[in-house]
């Protein structure tokens, strides 16, 4: 038995199984280390080389990473929440009550989702301010700044659509006010409102629409834009670390 394990299983990195998955083998040379990053679907979004200084807290306050972290928490808690939730009237509110009163750790799941969502909005804003005031939006990173703005909007839409799902008074009136703001736009306002709500009022259609947006369309869009965002960091010369890059 021990003999088979010896031959079949990798002994740490560089074993046969390891190699079949990661292709590049041990990162014993700079080339191989670079390949380990570049040839991995997930890691290839990141830069092959990073300045040690730009990884310190001082440079980024980890705001981008923390935003990604809250997004991950939201996905992980959101999926189990979907198991307990029907986007229908008035079942939605009862489902929320059930999460609160009878589902094991349901309240914890819901609160974690809720507070992560709030933190994510906060972190994304902080991230934008940090990038703006440090001037990290300047060429060659101007396109990634635009992607970042798109991601901010997606975050806000996710937050807004999620707000309706508990189907309580707060949700109902928040969305009523919000959608009325939209209809204040000249010419197209009323049409856009109709499109978003699936009708002229906040009702079952709006709930279903917001549910699909919140759980499918917006998260997928966010994942796609996050991927582009990361990939562009690498392509635009890595993390901005201050100072004069051109001369380094």
């Amino acid at each position: 038995m021990a003999d088979t394990l010896e031959t079949q299983l990798p002994r740490g990195r560089g074993g046969r199984v390891w190699q079949s998955i990661f292709r590049s083998g041990l990162g014993d040379t700079n080339l191989r280390r670079a390949l380990a990053i570049q040839q991995n679907l997930f890691l290839h979004l990141a830069s092959v080389k990073v300045r040690k200084r730009s990884l310190s807290f001082r440079v980024t306050w980890f705001l981008g990473t923390l935003s990604l972290g809250t997004f991950a928490i939201l996905v992980v808690t959101g999926v189990p929440l979907m198991l307990y939730y029907h986007p229908s009237v008035p079942q939605a509110y009862s489902d929320m009550n059930d999460l609160r009163f009878v589902v094991s750790a349901g309240l914890f799941l819901r609160n974690l989702h809720r507070w992560s969502a709030h933190s994510m909005v906060l972190l994304v804003f902080a991230h934008m301010f940090k990038v703006f005031y440090r001037g990290a939006y300047r060429p060659p990173r101007e396109f990634n700044w635009v992607i970042g703005v798109v991601l901010l909007l997606l975050t806000l839409f996710l937050s807004y659509t999620g707000y309706l799902l508990p189907w309580d008074q707060l949700a109902f009136w928040a969305i009523t006010v919000g959608s009325n703001l939209i209809s204040a736009m000249p010419i197209v306002g009323a049409r856009i409102r109709f499109l978003i709500l699936g009708g002229n009022g906040v009702n079952a259609n709006a709930l279903l629409r917001f549910y699909v947006l919140h759980c499918v369309i917006l998260p997928l869009a966010a994942v796609a834009f996050v991927a582009i965002h990361f990939w562009r960091i690498r392509k635009d010369g890595g993390l901005y670390h201050g100072g004069s890059e051109r001369h380094e």
Partner: protein
């Protein structure tokens, strides 16, 4: 920089390198994995279930109680009613009658009710948030739930969500609904029963179209100032009008009044001597006017019924010529009145007028005197009539009844607290709000139109109960669960007898075929019950049947022909299809039957607790006196009455004996042997 430096070193300490980061996150995860299930395990309800098991342990039936106990979350789920009630999770002993001595909640067993305790869930009757599993959320009003537990004294309101008929178990609800109709609430407020039918008033407000012929402007003004000062039992509320408004309203009401078709007959001579007053009083008593009309006695107590208006101060109100016409035939003035057409001769009318005209109260009218009204005052009076909604109740010439004069109250029992403006000092609950609004409407705002009612505290409680039954849940209840009220039929008797019955207003007191009042017995099967000679005699000269009652059949002074017509009709038409009137021949009863019946009467059935057969010995005052049963009732009726009275006259006080044929036969034999000739003079009380 300093703070960011500190934060930087903190983050470096936690996440500085991959080993630290892994370690810190692992510690956080372990902590979470410990805290979350622990919090889940330490929920309130688990504690209550443990306490219940401890409580049960020391009891004699501990084994069976423990076996029946179900651990974990318990719920009553009825999707068609929208019920998800988790109350039994903590209230573990709802169905354990043996825990009757336990007084601590949540372990008190549910008191016995006509429904299965858990058959409709808990929230249906008690309100509260059934889905919740914490004490606070389940019972009280919170931000996420506005419908707290209903205080126990209003609990009958919940029965009213399905039951629209009168239930014996819900006196407060019945009284409340009756009060809504009786005090004219439903004339301004639309209140729809769950079956969509709006409640109607039973207060019969008088038409004011000919008010000038009936009374004076001074009386109208004094009445408007305070109706209860005229008659403490008056149902008209006090509109708290300023004196100028009263002056203008009375001016308008007199101005709009048209003459009615007054009789051209000269008014009877009204004697004024003391003997006439005394004779008038005894005629008032003999005619049993007090069955419907109350008069305050010397001690200030109201004596008499409430079907008609109180007459304590009638002499200050009615003009003599109007009163003369009214006593001759009330329908000339008011075609829809409930008052019967008494056949009084001129002398009798004179006596009654003397008696009634003497019922004055100079303090009530005071020294009011009005100058002839100006057209400005009359116009202002008309505007006031419209503004105050007088036409919602009264017919007034040239003023149309306003629709939706006051807010609809069909869903008032579900009104969200967030939409209520509470007056200072009112507790923030729905029952307290409704009660405060009924007690003193103007305390919410002096500009409100709702008048001030004079209601006893239990009347307010009854009204609140009836209004709390007007819930959204009641409107959405499955039709199969709704129990509709008995709606009045529009039955009319036919022919000459029918006209006579309308003239005598039999239906004001008696119910026949679903139409009529509940003051006197249902006469639907009367022809089967009584013998013709007795009936003719009774119609001409009603004597006392039930000694305990003040309200009795009035003496209408019918002619022989009229009494015969009515008796013929009743004997022919009002026959039950259940059995034949002549199916038992009383002449075939033997003395032994009657003797056996007597034993049963005083022994097994103890009938003497409610009835009198031997006036010297028996003390029963609840039911009719039976001394003349043989002359009054048919043997077959007595026999079937003893078997099942309820099937013959629903709602009767007589218990359903379900006695055997032998017992019923023996008792019938004993009772029909009671044949004291009916008294010819009305019994003195």
């Amino acid at each position: 920089m300093k703070i960011s430096g500190k934060m930087a070193s903190f983050f470096n300490f936690l996440l500085g390198d991959s080993a630290r980061a892994f370690g810190a996150l692992s510690v956080a995860l372990v902590a979470l994995l410990a805290v979350v299930p622990a919090a889940d395990f330490l929920r309130d309800w688990r504690g209550y279930q443990k306490r219940y098991l401890r409580l049960v342990r020391g009891r004699s039936d501990a084994t069976s109680l423990t076996r029946r106990f179900q651990p974990g979350l318990q719920q009553i789920w009825m999707p068609e009613l929208g019920v998800v009630d988790r109350c039994p999770t903590c209230h573990s002993a709802l169905r354990e009658a043996s825990l009757g001595d336990v007084k601590d909640q949540p372990f008190r067993p549910h008191p016995p009710i006509p429904h299965s305790v858990t058959g409709f869930g808990c929230v249906m009757c008690h309100r509260g948030q059934g889905a919740a599993t914490t004490v606070e959320e389940a019972h009280r009003s919170t931000k996420s739930w506005e419908d707290p537990i209903l205080p126990a004294r209003y609990l009958e309101s919940s029965c009213g969500q399905c039951h629209m008929e009168r239930l014996t178990g819900t006196p407060l609800l019945n009284q409340g609904r009756q009060t809504l109709a009786r005090y004219g609430c439903v004339r301004c407020h639309v209140i729809k029963s769950p079956d969509g039918v709006a409640m109607t008033g039973t207060d019969d407000p008088p038409s004011l179209a000919h008010i000038g012929a009936k009374t004076t402007r001074e009386w109208i003004a004094a009445w408007l100032k305070n109706p209860q000062a005229y008659a403490s039992s008056a149902t008209m509320p006090n509109f708290q009008l300023p004196d100028d408004d009263i002056r203008d309203l009375s001016a308008f009401l007199i101005a709009q009044s048209t003459p009615y078709l007054a009789s051209r007959e000269a008014a009877p001579k009204v004697p004024t001597d003391d003997r006439a007053l005394k004779n008038g009083a005894s005629l008032f008593g003999e005619s049993f006017c007090s069955s419907c009309h109350a008069i305050q006695n010397a001690a200030g107590m109201l004596v008499g019924g409430n079907l008609g208006p109180e007459l304590t101060r009638i002499g200050s109100k009615a003009k003599p010529e109007w009163l003369a016409d009214w006593l001759r035939d009330p329908r000339v003035y008011d075609p829809d009145t409930q008052m019967p057409h008494y056949r009084l001769d001129a002398q009798q009318r004179g006596l009654l007028m003397a008696f009634l005209g003497n019922k004055t109260d100079p303090d009530f009218l005071g020294n009011r005197h009005f100058d002839p009204p100006t057209s400005v005052q009359i116009d202002h009076g008309r505007a006031l009539v419209n503004e105050r909604g007088c036409a919602a109740c009264h017919e007034i010439n040239g003023v149309k009844k306003a629709d939706n004069f006051a807010p609809e109250l069909t869903l008032v029992g579900s009104r969200p607290l967030a939409k209520i403006l509470f007056a200072p000092g009112v507790a923030h609950t729905l029952p307290d709000y409704i009660a405060a609004k009924i007690r003193q409407p103007r305390s919410f705002s002096t500009s409100l139109k709702m008048p001030q009612y004079t209601l006893a505290p239990e009347q307010v409680e009854a009204l609140v109960t009836a209004l709390l039954a007007q819930t959204e849940r009641a409107q959405k209840m499955p039709t199969a669960l709704r129990i509709p009220p008995r709606r009045a039929s529009d039955y009319h008797a036919a022919g000459q007898a029918g006209r006579l019955m309308e003239d005598l207003r039999c239906f004001s007191c008696h119910t026949i075929n679903g139409r009529g009042g509940d003051m006197a017995p249902d006469l639907t099967w009367e022809g089967t019950a009584v013998t013709r000679p007795w009936l003719v005699n009774f119609l001409k000269n009603p004597n006392t049947l039930r000694p305990a009652l003040i309200r009795r059949m009035p003496k209408f002074n019918l002619t022989d022909a009229e009494a015969d017509t009515l008796a013929d009709y009743i004997m022919t038409v009002y026959q039950t299809p259940a059995f034949d009137r002549d199916s038992i021949d009383s002449s075939r009863f033997t003395r032994a039957d009657a003797e056996h019946g007597k034993e049963l009467f005083y022994g097994k059935y103890a009938c003497q607790s409610c009835h009198i057969v031997d006036p010297d010995k028996d003390k029963g005052y609840i039911g009719p006196t039976l001394t003349q049963t043989g002359a009054r009732l048919n043997a077959a009726w007595v026999f079937h009455w003893l078997k099942n009275a309820e099937s013959l006259r629903p709602g009767t006080l007589e218990p359903v004996w379900k006695s055997s044929d032998e017992d019923a036969r023996a008792l019938s034999a004993f009772l029909v042997a009671q044949k004291i000739a009916p008294q010819t003079e009305p019994a003195k009380k």
